[in-house]
């Protein structure tokens, strides 16, 4: 038996009405601003969740601000629609989330904080030619694989270490070379171990003697033995390279055991440029120096954002402001591309010369996916605040070195 499709009176009426509606008012539909889907991908659960959540906050604030100010003007005020994804602190989950974001039809992805996850997500995004702005992910390999969809806004590890060494030498020379010996305390995963290796290669050439390099596990429960070793060796400089909890515990143990080298000089220090550390443990934090991502302390937009973040009872950390700026970088590219098409956005990012950032960067210029305009700065914790001490153009305080005796 063959069933003939029946059109009821009701269906017929509804259909005609809808068609008439479309035909009658095409202009209204066209004028309705479209939304542009943006993947916001971070590790918001798992061991590095605290950082991932800060990242998401930064991206959210930027998207809200851009939408409140009328969206993307060149596209008829199209709004940005964030699609939040969670990498669960694991690279393979990050890659799987990229597939989901692709299904959802995102025009670009921003994230994913950690280097290990970034290696996976940029590659997964490349398969679908999705523009991927990397917020932090400092490891050099993130931008050295020839992926044309990958754009890292912040500086990479080599650049940061080079700046840190340059500034350390300048700092030491300025003070009459009081520092000659160094001890390195590092966590034993890729980040800390890689940093320790690089430092062991570079420091002797710059006239510093590395007395000892001490690795420790994540998490470490007790830094008393390491503190005792530092006390025994009595180095002029201590260079820690570890994540937030261990950094804080080490600094507090040193303070407790009344050990104070001439400087604690960290590079991408886990806590050294975090307001949370300064606020919770001001005594342990005082005089610690760091070479890290930081905003231009004289830029009014940055200071306004800082107030806004603090009003939300969050800390204004580099995760927040780097993601904020990555969204603004994307908005600039969309504005110029006049399209949410992935290829067009990739093209616009590749030719980006955005100079409106509150980071202490030059105009963006992407070479092999790395923003050549990006640079780290040196900070020092002085009187319960984080001050910029290098480079001079952005500094708002003079370095205190050597630190006064404990």
């Amino acid at each position: 038996m063959i069933k003939t499709p029946r059109v009821s009176r009701r269906h017929f009426l509804a259909g005609t009405a809808a068609t008439a509606g479309l035909a009658g008012f095409p202009a209204i539909l066209k004028a309705q601003p479209r939304t542009i889907k943006v993947g916001v991908l971070h590790p918001v659960t798992g061991p590095i969740a605290p950082s991932g959540q800060q990242c998401r906050l930064g991206a959210k604030l930027a998207i809200d601000t851009i939408n409140a100010n009328g969206g993307i003007a060149s596209m008829g005020g199209a709004k940005l629609e964030p699609i939040y994804a969670d990498a669960q602190s694991r690279p393979e989950v990050g890659a799987a989330e990229v597939e989901k974001l692709n299904e959802a039809g995102v025009s670009a992805i921003i994230g994913p904080f950690a280097s290990g996850i970034a290696l996976a997500t940029t590659q997964a995004a490349a398969k679908h030619n999705i523009p991927h702005i990397v917020d932090v992910g400092v490891v050099d390999q993130v931008v050295s694989r020839g992926l044309t969809n990958t754009f890292r806004f912040g500086p990479g590890l080599s650049k940061i270490v080079d700046s840190a060494m340059e500034n350390l030498v300048a700092l030491n020379n300025q003070a009459g070379k009081p520092a000659k010996t160094v001890m390195i305390v590092h966590e034993e995963s890729a980040f800390g171990a890689g940093m320790a290796k690089t430092l062991n290669e570079k420091l002797p050439a710059l006239g510093f003697e590395v007395l000892e390099t001490i690795p420790h596990a994540n998490p470490t429960r007790d830094f008393n033995n390491i503190a005792l070793k530092i006390k025994g060796r009595n180095p002029d400089l201590l260079i820690p390279s570890n994540y937030y909890n261990e950094f804080v515990l080490l600094a507090r143990t040193l303070r407790q055991q009344k050990i104070r080298p001439k400087a604690i000089y960290s590079i991408l220090g886990g806590a050294a440029s975090q307001y949370r550390f300064v606020q919770e443990f001001p005594d342990a934090a005082e005089f610690i120096m760091d070479c890290n991502h930081w905003f231009d302390p004289r830029n009014p937009v940055a200071l306004e954002l800082k107030k806004k973040v603090e009003a939300e009872k969050a800390f204004f950390s580099y995760e927040v402001f780097l993601n904020y700026e990555c969204v603004r970088l994307l908005a600039d590219a969309l504005e110029r591309a006049k399209s949410s098409d992935r290829a067009a956005v990739n093209h616009a990012l590749a030719s980006s010369g955005w100079s409106n950032t509150f980071m202490p960067y030059g105009p963006t210029k992407f070479v092999n996916g790395q923003n050549e305009g990006a640079a780290p700065v040196n900070t020092q914790i002085l009187q319960k605040d984080i001050k910029v001490i290098f480079p001079k153009d952005f500094a708002n305080a003079k370095p205190v070195f050597p630190a006064p005796k404990a």
Binding site: T45, P50, I214, H216, N225, K231, R252
Partner: protein, 290 residues
């Protein structure tokens, strides 16, 4: 490197952490000695206790040391209930069943904690967290000194309980001769659960002593449970004095290992001891021959 000024603080530091190890191992050895249960859930229960103390502090502002009676009572209750209503019933009198039940419990408790509280590492801040006692030759953090004294006190109390009270006598009777103890009218189910409860109460106390200088995360139990097993094996299964002595030895071994071999390899010494004891003195330092 072998300076006295570094070696002595390292040893003192080892003794303080060793006392905590001893306290955790005391609970383990009590449960083993009486019930012949190897309690794999011991680490997870310690983690629960740490979270309990953490939330008492962060939600209600209760100092960890003041929370001690609450934590001990709560963990006693949990332990009593677990043995009476879950482990005891599920065992059907077979030891290998109990092994799997406690292992299963630890998996459930840990994943529940992961679900409820995420895997963030949390710490508390007390006014005395980073105070130190100046002994001239070494600075000992106040929380560690308190933990050391507290752990020794609890060990002494436990010893009194076991030797001077009817409950202690009943526990020892059951440990030695189950059938005979039941024949003279000891309520075996109740005493088993009491032993498990007391073993867990030790964890509650350990959590209060530990948290001011430590952290809590859903995986925190792992760090302690292996060490506690080593302490129990070193001291002799079921021996209280052995557990105390074993804890202190292991603490110092870990501390000196950390000093000489580096923090990552510090625990190497502990497991070397574990293997050597199993090879040459399987009954442990003070254990009785089976």
């Amino acid at each position: 490197m072998l300076e006295f000024s570094i070696l002595l603080p390292a040893i003192l530091n080892g003794l303080t952490i060793g006392a905590i190890y001893a306290l955790i191992a005391l609970g383990l050895t009590l449960i083993y000695g009486v019930l012949h249960i190897i309690n794999f859930a011991h680490g997870s229960l310690l983690m629960l206790a740490l979270y309990g103390v953490f939330f008492l502090h962060s939600l209600f502002g209760i100092d960890p040391y003041l929370a001690l009676p609450v934590a001990a009572a709560a963990l006693f209750g949990i332990g009593y209930g677990l043995q009476r209503f879950i482990i005891g019933r599920a065992s059907h009198g077979k030891d290998e069943n109990i092994l799997l039940v406690t292992l299963g419990l630890s998996v459930i408790i840990e994943n529940l904690a992961l679900y409820l509280w995420r895997s963030d590492t949390r710490t508390i801040e007390t006014p005395y967290s980073f105070e130190v006692l100046d002994f001239g030759v070494a600075f000992i953090p106040v929380p560690k000194a308190v933990a050391f004294v507290g752990a020794l006190l609890v060990a002494a109390l436990l010893w009194l309980l076991m030797t001077r009270t009817d409950l202690g006598r009943a526990i020892r009777a059951l440990a030695k001769e189950r059938q005979g103890a039941k024949l003279v009218g000891i309520n075996a189910e109740h005493i088993f659960a009491m032993s498990f409860g007391i073993g867990c109460a030790c964890l509650g106390i350990a959590a209060c002593l530990l948290l001011p200088s430590f952290y809590v995360s859903p995986q925190v139990g792992h760090a302690f449970v292996l060490v506690a097993f080593t302490v129990v094996v070193l001291g002799g299964m079921g021996s209280f004095v052995g557990a105390l002595l074993g804890g202190l030895i292991i603490g110092v071994t870990e501390s000196l290992g950390g000093l000489f071999l580096g923090e990552s390899l510090g625990q190497l010494g502990i497991f070397l001891i574990f293997i050597i004891v199993l090879l040459f003195r399987p009954t442990g330092l003070l254990g009785q021959k089976a």
